[in-house]
Symmetry: C2
Subunit: 644 residues, 2 copies
């Protein structure tokens, strides 16, 4: 709509009364549609939608967004952190022509419709799907970092609820924004003082202005239903010399008298006479509702399709390590990352690499990259929840976003953030070091033996567990340009380079990493070992022991347990007894995947899964693996038992 | 040792110079052992151990702790949140006679020893195992809440690092403590201004005093190497009218000149000449180190065994719902919880129930309990990370600790906290509502389709997914008295009561809940359906459809997918084609468990797993389940396909 042409991109100094009147009218109509939507769905959060409406209407009028820009890299990003106000944000988007309001209202929360219960990227104008509270500011940090890395003027706006202000991830995001001086980020808090269970001071008191100020933000306050005040505050915040938050004092349920300040309508739609009353107060009537119900029986609207694209990145020439090199996979990852960083730095048309660290750069080997490309290295401290989300959001905003951390922190600690990255169809590259039992002496709290078992629960994540430094190098380069969320996992220890029977590096030279592939490392006649990651070398060692006893073993390796090619597995196993081995939980990793594949294919096979079956000890790698039966001797014993 | 008799329980007003001298001597010796321990292990974090030493020595001398009290319910609890300073805390415990110092130093980080890399409960004097930073204060909150509920004077002390101050969970814990006025909780921050990657202000700046003050804590500062100052601050904090934090200004590596203020020794042990120099400065010599190396080859020390005990709780008489009752499992859980709460409230000898909520009491049905037992109901706001840990710690301190939340928040969002509860052998009772696709219209961000798949990665957690309100009632009562971490999961919708062929409630009357059991709900000849949770009723409905087509189906239900009795499964399946159904991820729930059991037993079976195979839609329950092929029609179709 044309109503706000003069305020777009904050051109005007302030909003005149005439412009405010147009916004007021747009907001009235959008409120009406939000009520129709929730009532047609008989579900949703009307009161919050009404509370945030004037913020949405003002922001969508002033920010650099429009239906035409909805997929432009240069648009401002708007994150609605309290995603349950979806009916309100959708209705405000409709007011600006992103899609027809009646279509949204009729299809809100209808199975198969893009207008889902919490804001999702299938709706044009929605930049990040939310719903689990307290995570939106972190997404805004990701967008702001990506814009800066790309040299773009795109501003990030995050609209938040007040109840979620106490969630720890919010504080983490504030601190990263302050440290990084993200002046291209503005937060707006819908401060109506009511959450599901009642008043904020009763549910969980918090001094909201003091918390933002303590983390170094500029704090503005304004009436969240006064268009001029909102506009002026946003304009001021956007030009601020440090990240700014606008605390917008609002009224829950604003615009429908019986919903105002009533916690009950937080999560309940109006119906019957109450609905009639609400629509009347908003200048409408029941015909809108009835029309929505009728349209709800019609065809489903399409929504936007989110595209995943390969990154424009030169991934360089792979390095080959020879059998005399003593190297850990971490080091090979770090070298490859630094190579690619240097190759693409400031290169015309290349997607910037953005690398996140949580106070472990030296251990996770991103220090090399940090030295070469300091401007694209984000030291975020011990704040993993924010980093997981920020890295996810950055990955959908034109950068290649890499986060390396100890495996327990990059997967276990932030599993839900990674799940939400998956739902958002992001392209996060998460590198987990110190995975499995291979963590040195740190002990069970640091042994991440479940990363495959966790990511298995998502539908998009892929996991790579390379066997040696050569495969790590190639997997790293492959991953950096590949779309989608990918996790690259590796242990801490130095590893022998896997060689073929001629002594040449198996994963060196022209070897190309392929998702799903099973590698035949050694042939054999009596039994098959299927290994994952650093167990490959140990499996080859076990094969030698067994050969001396007259047992001939075929050794396989699969680096991608979640996408393993089952048909190829059946073929390579060829009916022989199968031992799977991994320093991962025995019930949820590669072995479980193999067993499941056989079971579902109705194939009986003699199978044994060795892996982690209890929490590991704290001691040297060698002792810890031996204790769990996962050293070469343990693998050999497993084969012997299988052949009994 | 007797050195600090006068300061125990803060009897003395202040520490005289003579007492301080004794503490100084004890600290010197403990520092020496900490260096020996890390060097003997050639691993660990010596500089942090030295930094915190004077805090540990003072606290262990003044708090109500001793080797004799190490398992007493009335002892003070000490949580070391920066668990990597283990060598320091262990050495300080040894100084007070908890175990011999040489034993600890010789066996530090040795595989199979209790003296693990990060503090663990196997060591007497350690109340909570940590290592993943930022979680200790939440454990302290749990201990303080438990003490208050038990009417105990036990004080909770949490010693923290400075780098972890920025972790969001810390802020959550602060707010809960302030709201609950936990004057029996004191935090001590070892503020040496160095974390692994360097100075705090370079890694992640934070205004530490302002953050604590903004959350309503009393903030004290003192020299963290001055015994009198430490003692006085602790005494003052313990008597404070609001929770207090003592910011202890310290020197990283204190006591060994070449380690002081050097980040490098954060995670590196001294060796060779450097070790010799360190020991000399601390008044020792290499003979200690050599003796430790010799002892390290000897037998392993035993450590403490952590016992799990049944709670002293009257779980009352079960309620039976009949086939005319329309009830959701949530409601049945809420009723049973309120019943047990009322029965045991203020009852002599009964373990107090402590129930945590994160702003969803009405939805997760703990509101009934909250009304009956308001003093034991903790409304914690939207701060799940803290609650998960606090509920875990409380459960090992004499209360029955229950946390109910939407499933995505109680499992996905806090998976790592729940994993650490498992490592701590806690007894958390986590109730997940809105699990599976059964969440109403909220959509994919709120559909928790992975809780079995997540808890499968732990070794202690048990999961219960009851079929109907009767089984929910009985499982709730069973769980409340049972030791260990247990997750009870249920959807949102109302469900038919499962009845037997005579129309009597199957799980009513005398039915007793048993972990691992598979229930035969209906017999049949042609195929078997194995169902989980609310799919049981739908499976029975599908059976009726199929019966009309001449297909006879046996219907089984297993509420405990992680402990399912495999032999009984083989027996009840009896070689018939098997369809598993669940509204859980198809690769990681009940179906995967069943397939894995058959595969490992080398049994070929015709099996098909139906479950969740992509993110679900946002719409009515009925539509969402139908779309995923998980309504009765979808189950019937699955059986037909299986029999093709």
């Amino acid at each position: 709509m044309r109503v706000t042409e003069e305020m777009r991109n904050f051109k005007a100094e302030s909003i005149g009364e005439e412009c405010a009147a147009r916004l007021r009218e747009a907001a009235r109509e959008a409120r009406m549609w939000a009520v129709v939507a929730t009532s047609a769905a008989n579900s949703g959060h009307p009161a919050g939608a009404l509370s945030s409406m004037d913020i949405y209407i003002t922001l969508l009028g002033a920010a650099n967004v429009s239906p035409e820009l909805a997929d432009s890299p240069e648009r401002d990003r708007i994150v609605v952190s309290h995603g349950h106000t979806s009916a309100g944000f959708y209705a405000a988007l409709a007011a600006y022509g992103f899609f027809p309001a009646h279509e949204m209202a009729a299809n809100f929360r209808r199975a198969g419709s893009p207008y889902q219960g919490h804001v999702e990227r299938d709706v044009p104008g929605v930049d990040w799907g939310t719903g689990n509270l307290g995570q939106g500011l972190a997404a805004g940090v990701g967008f702001a970092l990506a814009a800066r890395a790309r040299g773009s003027k795109a501003h990030s706006w995050v609209v938040m609820g007040d109840g979620e202000q106490v969630k720890g991830q919010v504080a983490e995001a504030r601190r990263i924004a302050a440290k990084e001086k993200l002046t291209n980020l503005t937060a707006l808090v819908d401060w109506n003082d009511i959450q599901i269970s009642g008043r904020l001071e009763d549910v969980m008191p918090a001094d909201i202005p003091a918390l933002w100020a303590a983390d170094g933000w500029r704090v503005l306050e304004c009436d969240g239903h006064d268009y001029n005040a909102l506009y002026t505050a946003m304009k001021s915040a956007a030009a601020s010399e440090k990240p700014a938050v606008i605390l917008c004092k609002t009224v829950m349920g604003k615009g429908v008298s019986f919903m105002e300040n009533i916690p009950d309508y937080h999560g309940k739609a109006a119906s019957g006479e109450k609905l009639e009353e609400a629509l009347k107060e908003l200048g409408g009537d029941m015909s809108l509702f009835n029309a929505a119900l009728a349209e709800r029986k019609g065809p489903l609207p399409a929504g936007r399709s989110v595209k995943l694209e390969r990154a424009a990145l030169d991934t360089g020439a792979p390095r080959t390590y020879t059998k005399d090199d003593k190297k850990d996979n971490r080091g090979a990852f770090g070298k490859a990352l630094a190579d690619v960083g240097e190759l693409n730095r400031k290169k015309e048309g290349a997607a910037p690499l953005l690398v996140f660290d949580c106070d472990l750069a030296g251990s996770v080997k991103v220090d090399g990259f940090a030295k070469l490309c300091p401007e694209n290295f984000i030291e975020a401290g011990i704040q993993e929840h924010c980093v997981a989300t920020a890295a996810g959001a950055a990955s959908v905003a034109g950068v290649v976003s890499v986060w390396a951390d100890f495996a327990v922190f990059g997967s276990d600690e932030v599993y839900n953030q990674q799940r939400l990255n998956d739902i958002n169809r992001a392209g996060t590259k998460t590198v987990l070091t110190h995975s499995g039992l291979d963590v040195g002496e740190d002990g069970m709290t640091h042994q991440c033996i479940d990363y495959v078992g966790l990511f298995r629960n998502c539908f998009g994540w892929r996991v790579i567990v390379p066997a040696d430094p050569n495969q790590t190098d190639r997997a790293t380069r492959w991953m950096l340009a590949e779309p989608g969320n990918i996790c690259l996992a590796m242990g801490r220890g130095t590893l022998p380079v896997i060689v073929d029977e001629k002594g040449e590096p198996f994963y060196g030279g022209d070897y190309k990493f392929r998702d799903g592939e099973i590698d035949l490392l050694r042939d054999g006649r009596d039994a098959v070992i299927l290994s994952m990651g650093h167990m490959a070398g140990r499996a080859i060692e076990a094969r030698e022991t067994l050969a001396a006893e007259g047992i001939s073993v075929r050794v396989l390796h699969c680096a991608t347990p979640l996408s393993m090619d089952s048909e190829r597995l059946f073929e390579l196993t060829g009916g022989l007894p199968l031992l799977t081995c991994e320093d991962h939980h025995a019930d949820s990793g590669l072995g479980a995947a193999a067993a499941l594949a056989f079971a579902r294919a109705g194939k009986a096979v003699k199978i044994k899964n060795i892996g982690v079956t209890r929490y590991g000890l704290s001691g040297s790698n060698k002792d810890v693996l031996a204790d769990m039966g996962l050293d070469a001797a343990g693998i050999a014993a497993g084969v012997r038992e299988l052949l009994k």
